[in-house]
């Protein structure tokens, strides 16, 4: 009897070792697949024997030429544009999203349900549809092409109130009894927000800032529309996209790789530092819908 038990447990252990080994193999393969593109892009950015696409990974001649070329190109301007947009959007959008989500989480007013349903329906329209008219309006205001930066900030920030779901979900988890206790002690609603809720909401504030800061780095379509082919008004995505088009890719491919590295490094470092908050936000958001 003892023998059979032992055999069984040994069998279990063996099967566990096998299944764990399989999992390790899968995980290692996945890690390689996930990292290869980034590994390649870094290597290609140091390739100086040619500027076009090639079929091998390891450069034959190494050097900083591509990075130097970036410094002397419009890339500097695009980078600055994107950075300014990202900073402004991070600041303003956070304020707007917090106002919106706090209100919808804490106040029960007459129009609340209607408002939320209305915004749900609005969200079903493809945002691209509004591009045509927003472009014309921005053009009339003189905020397109070379002046695209303020125009883009305006548009990103103005409609950001619709993205309140994640942080509303977070505010819902802060007990309402805290508010009530403070109100009994004579605090106004505004004081409750500044003195009690905001300090508790630090994770979601950081999450909102982080996502707001990262979004402009990747925004492509609206930035392309608003800058309308004027290099001075482009962001990195639009500018670098143009480098990979038929007419440019022969001369700019390795520069694209170098630019990609320069764009990705600071954003990635920031993201990795604040990863904890991002994970919290994403998981919470998905659960609460």
């Amino acid at each position: 009897m003892n023998e059979t038990l032992e055999k069984r447990s040994m069998g279990l252990r063996a099967s566990r070792t096998i299944s764990n080994t399989i999992i390790y193999v899968i995980l290692i393969v996945m890690s390689v697949v996930w990292l290869i593109p980034f590994f390649c892009i870094v290597l290609q950015s140091f390739r100086i024997e040619s500027t076009w696409q090639v079929g091998y990974v390891i450069p034959r001649q190494w050097g900083w030429d591509n990075y130097r070329a970036l410094w002397n190109s419009d890339f500097k301007r695009w980078y600055l544009n994107t950075f300014i947009i990202a900073l402004a959007v991070a600041a303003l959008q956070t304020i707007i999203v917090l106002c919106m989500s706090y209100t919808l989480s804490r106040f029960r007013f007459k129009m609340r349900d209607g408002l939320m349903r209305f915004m749900l329906i609005l969200g079903m329209f493809p945002g691209m549809l509004t591009m045509i008219i927003l472009y014309r309006v921005l053009k009339d205001l003189g905020l397109t092409q070379a002046n695209a930066v303020p125009g883009l900030i305006l548009v990103y920030v103005a409609s950001s109130g619709m993205g309140y779901y994640v942080s509303k979900g977070f505010f819902d988890t802060i007990p309402k009894s805290l508010d009530e206790a403070a109100r009994v002690d004579g605090a106004t609603r505004a004081q409750v927000l500044y003195k009690i809720i905001l300090p508790l909401a630090k994770p979601i504030v950081i999450y909102t800032i982080l996502t707001a800061f990262m979004a402009p780095w990747g925004d492509f379509v609206f930035a392309k529309y608003v800058s309308f082919g004027t290099s001075a008004g482009m962001n990195v995505a639009v500018g670098m996209w143009s480098w990979l088009q038929q007419d440019m890719i022969g001369q700019k491919y390795t520069m694209f790789c170098a630019g990609g590295v320069i764009v990705a490094i600071p954003v990635t470092i920031l993201f990795m530092c604040l990863q904890k908050y991002y994970v919290e936000g994403v998981t919470g958001g998905a659960v609460k819908g």
């Binding site: 999992i23 209100t103 493809p126 927003l134 103005a158 996209w241 954003v267 994403v282 998981t283 659960v287």
Partner: protein, 513 residues
Amino acid sequence: MKKYSDLEFLRLSKGEKFLYKLTSFFAAIPRAIGRFFMKIALFFKNLGVGFGKELADLVMTFKNGDWKTRSSYLVMGFGSIARGQVLRGLMFLLFELVFIFYMIFAGAHWLSLLPSLGKIGPHEEYNAVLDAYTRVYGDNSFKILLYGVLTLFFIVAFIYTWRLNIQQNKLAEEYLKSGRRLKTGQDDLRSLVDEQFYKTLLALPLTGIMVFTVMPIVFMILVAFTNYDGAHDGYNNALFGWVGLDNFRTLLSWSGSGVNYSATFGEILTWTLIWAFFATFTNYFLGMFVAMMINKKGIKLKKVWRTILVMTIAIPQFISLLYVSKMFAKNGIVNGVLLDLGWIKQAIDFWGSQEHNALLPRVMVILINIWIGIPYLMLIATGILMNIPADLYESSRIDGANAWQQYTKITLPYMLFITGPYLLTSFTGNMNNFNVIFLLTGGAPTNAAASGASGSVGFTDLLITWLFKITTGAEAQYYLASVVGIMVFVVVAVISLVVYNVLPSIKNEEDFQ
């Protein structure tokens, strides 16, 4: 269809259970749609009833009110000022004055042109000074439509404020009659940071949404009923005007002269739905699978695996997508390495192959989307999986359940129940996933059969990238783009409604919170 009680259901065999669930799901759809229309009917009924009540209330207030209230029907805020609520009254009065001035000096002009969208187009006129015919510009249809819509918005806002002003008077009168004190201007201001703090908080976000989302959407819906395009741009080339439902007819009718938009639309819509289905569910299940692997007891370096995957979220998509797209190009690294290794004889045309309706490019975008999407799903699934009570697994193991049974009986139902709403939003999000398609393929390879006057249409084009191509194409058919946009909305709305009404986890929102 026969409905089983719980006990009867349990007695069914596995296949029968599945069949029953499937049929009851589809049987519920007509009911859900019916319920939806009932809701709409109810909404309009309530609207009518509410409107009647309002009118009756207005008449009664006028009949029973004192002279202060009555004069407020004409001069807004008069009653408030007369009763000592100066700040409130002045705000009303100011709003009325602004409205009247606007209507006289601008609003009336735009409104009068709105039905025609402009009368005088650009034309040649004799110029005596130059002694030549020069081009003279007339009305601007775009501005007429834009300001016309704004004026209508303003009128609605005015009617609402006017009604509010009368309600205020009625309330104030009742308050004074019952011997209570009215709120002073100071009280009003204080309440904006206290009881009515929500008004202060919402003012800025809602203004932004009104101006930059609602107004443009209303405008673009109206454009669907005009012939606004590059040739009829409303000012430089020619005016545009109302065409009724013609554009919808062009897109939806199967027998059109010239370009067959309906066939193109149908083809792209089909691919959009296929794409959204695969993009959502491959990511969902694989992401969950990866999360479970990393979470498994005995797997070491959990943090490392997670970090490697999460890192890819940080890198802006345009870099990773554009780069990966070029990696798989005909002269890209993947082909180069495969050729060097001797695994293939000829470079594979990952993005250009048209065989079997461009099966290869279509599979490629779905695969690369998995590469993009798994890290997000891994994060979400990890958070949820950790919340599943461990004793559920323990007791099921004692009962002799194997890993697969544990997965289908515990993990999967739990995940599906909690992430139901997320699945829905990610499905509709994928339908409108512009970045992945546009940056990877740009819609290529070109679908010659479907392409027409509206520019080239590709096999991997989604409705949303098609919309983009239409607006930026040579003919700039804004009216067509607008119709396509409305169709996207209709599809998304129908899917959401059906799912919302059928999924149990969404109906009982409170249950899973």
